[in-house]
């Protein structure tokens, strides 16, 4: 039976909790209620209250307590009810967790799970893509799975990782995508991108929910005999610059795509990486398709205009192909 993206995360958490008694969950409404999105439904019944800890509305305490427990040898998996609230625990993440190892050799093996992304009419505070607040912070790892397979494999790797990992799960994918997962346990390594579709004319480099938009666009462009390669970054930090650059070398043309707003987005880091590394191999400008520089609007026609989609990608890709 195919497994949803949400169910895949749930399975990954469950397996890791069974495998390692040091893993525990912490967050708001995650125990009795099973979490706002029900990712952890049934966990407290199985693993008990000591390992599935409901907290007050205190994101800074959630992150801080995760750090403290992880310093003492546990592996905390914190849930933000929505990734938008991660800003309330920001100092703990970027100043405490991110810098412990560098400063005093103290590993902080924790994960912050944060449901992010738009397309669900959540408005300005339930739709954000907060990844870039963290990609610019050395000491953190940032993971953004696009598929159910990767969501499961990456949450498992994140939990086993000995550094703090931010795990941005896309709300819009939770129940929208499914696939058959291997019955045996597996992990997906952090820091490795994936070629989601091979092609030789043009590379679309993207991550998260936009991988599906890129694939949709690639499918339509194939009908016009434009063969698009889609690179799914999977991890934003540490960035798999090698795979990105190899794809660019192969196709010579790059379109960068993200759901996040434009200025200061991931596309910038990719553009800089590409021009400093494979400049001579590029046959046209690096172009961006992103959300515009606004808060995420609430009303459906506005949000639709805000979000990148296959049409917007196709238009830019055609232009670049002909360049």
């Amino acid at each position: 039976m195919p497994t949803t993206y949400l169910e895949a995360i749930r399975e990954g958490l469950w397996e890791e909790m069974e495998r390692d008694a040091n893993v525990f969950l912490i967050g708001e409404d995650i125990a009795t209620y099973g979490g706002a999105f029900k990712v952890t439904a049934g966990f407290v019944e199985k693993f008990g209250e000591m390992r599935v800890v409901d907290t007050p509305i205190s994101e800074s305490a959630i992150v801080g307590a995760s750090i403290g427990a992880s310093l003492m040898g546990l592996r905390a998996v914190a849930e933000m009810q929505f990734s938008d609230f991660i800003t309330c625990g920001f100092d703990q993440i970027v100043n405490f967790a991110a810098k412990c190892r560098y400063r005093w050799n103290a590993p902080v093996p924790m994960v912050v799970r944060a449901p992010s992304g738009g397309g669900i009419h959540g408005g300005p505070f339930h739709s954000q893509n907060p990844e870039m607040w963290f990609v610019r912070t050395p000491g953190l790892k940032v993971v953004t799975p696009a598929t159910a397979y990767d969501a499961k494999g990456l949450i498992k790797s994140a939990i086993r990782d000995n550094d703090p990992v931010l795990f941005f799960e896309h709300k819009g994918l939770y129940r929208r995508i499914k696939e058959d997962l291997p019955p045996e346990p597996y992990t997906v390594p952090i820091g490795k991108a994936r070629i989601a579709r091979e092609g030789r004319d043009l590379s679309i480099i993207t991550y998260g929910a936009m991988v599906w938009v890129a694939l949709e666009a690639a499918g339509k462009l194939a009908e016009e005999a434009i063969e698009v390669e889609v690179v799914d970054l999977r991890t934003l930090l540490p960035l798999d610059r090698k795979t990105v650059c190899e794809s660019a070398k192969k196709t010579s043309k790059v379109l960068l795509l993200h759901e996040d707003t434009r200025t200061g987005g991931m596309a910038g880091e990719l553009a800089a990486t590409l021009t400093e590394t494979v400049w001579d191999d590029l046959d046209g400008p690096i172009v961006r398709v992103t959300a515009p520089d606004t808060p995420v609007p609430f009303s459906p026609p506005l949000e639709e205009a805000f979000l990148p989609n296959a049409e917007k990608v196709i238009e830019k890709a055609r232009w670049l192909f002909r360049y």
Binding site: D29, P56, S58, C88, P124, F125, P297, F298, L302
Partner: protein, 336 residues
């Protein structure tokens, strides 16, 4: 759009007699109930609502009993179950429905949704989603009012769960040190989403936190609007007299799930039953009949009138267009 004036005295209740206060409070409690019922139980189920729905069913006495005390220049910071604070200020039910449907007629023109409503012309500041984020902002508004040498005060609303947040602490502490004119109104409805208050804090009452800021507190039956009003009057007088903040804890109960998609199975059944008996509207109506402040016929007329107003408002909102996608890029910054 509102015909409230027919039944509701247009003045604030600060100086009104009990019958007048009761009538005014009843009107707004019923209006809030009707507006929210329509949203949660009808429009939401019809798929006409965009995004989440959070209502204050059973808690109407909290926002009504306090917000009727506000002078128009007082600044209100309603939270997500304080619909009446908006209605009393003059936000129309039509604007509320349009807001919930993502139409241009909504208070935020489709840019934001649900209870995220604010209007500087009405001295209402919009919440953001993060619980208690308004609390330090309310202190700043009070700082401005004092600097402007205005005799106005700030009404700052929040739930029991919000008091766990760092912002709540920082905001109250700063306001207390500065002796700012803020009335804090806590709806302690026993739950924060699925989390009962005993898993949220280990003191018995939110009011037990007042001494940490050296500010006076009062606990009141949050389902008795006249009691809330009385306590609110003391709080308002304290703040307006320049004596600093005041914390009012209204004990109440959330007679609904956290939001429209939450069946709230985690709430023990007996609590629903117990609190249903304490419904603030039923209680006020009984009181009014007992005291001779209203006849059954008058009450019926009130409900009918409100239903009519709300029908009209829904119709108006449904006619309000969706925002033009061209407005997407507007108002990120001041236009230059």
């Amino acid at each position: 759009m509102s015909t409230a004036e027919l039944i509701v005295p247009p003045t604030r209740t600060q100086d009104a007699g009990p019958a007048e206060i009761a009538r005014k409070c009843l009107y707004y409690m019923c209006q809030m109930r009707e507006v929210e019922d329509r949203i949660e139980r009808k429009l939401y189920r019809q798929g006409k609502i965009v995004g989440g729905v959070y209502v204050g069913r059973g808690q109407e006495a909290v926002s009504v009993g306090t917000a009727v005390l506000a002078a128009p220049e007082d600044v209100l910071f309603p939270s997500h179950r304080d619909m009446a604070a908006l209605l009393i200020r003059g936000v129309t039910p039509g604007q509320v429905f349009a807001q919930y449907m993502g139409r241009v007629g909504g208070v935020t023109r489709g840019k934001d949704g649900n209870m995220h409503m604010g209007d500087l012309k009405l001295n209402i500041v919009s919440i953001i989603s993060a619980m208690a984020a308004s609390v330090p902002v309310a202190a700043g508004a009070a700082l401005a009012l004092r600097y402007q040498a205005k005799n106005h005060i700030v009404f700052c609303y929040f739930g029991d769960g919000a008091t766990s947040r760092g912002d709540w602490h920082e905001g109250l502490n700063f306001a207390a040190v500065q002796k700012l004119p803020v009335v804090y109104i806590c709806n302690n409805n026993q739950y924060a989403y699925s989390t009962p208050v005993a898993r949220q804090m280990s003191c018995a009452n939110v009011a037990d936190r007042g001494p940490a800021y050296g500010i006076p507190v009062e606990i009141v039956d949050g389902n008795d609007v006249l009691a809330v009003h009385e306590a609110g009057r003391r709080a308002v007088e304290h703040a307006r007299a320049g004596k600093g903040p005041y914390l009012l804890e209204c004990k109440t109960f959330r007679m609904t799930g956290h939001s429209a998609h939450d069946a709230a199975d985690y709430v023990p059944k007996h609590l629903w039953d117990e609190w249903a008996k304490l419904d603030p509207i039923t209680r006020l109506e009984a009181r009014m009949r007992d005291q001779g402040w209203a006849t059954e016929a008058e009450l019926d007329a009130l409900h009918a009138r409100i239903r009519g107003e709300v029908d009209e408002a829904v119709a108006w909102a449904e006619k309000s267009p969706y925002p033009d996608p061209a407005t997407l890029l507007e108002d990120v910054y001041e236009a230059w």
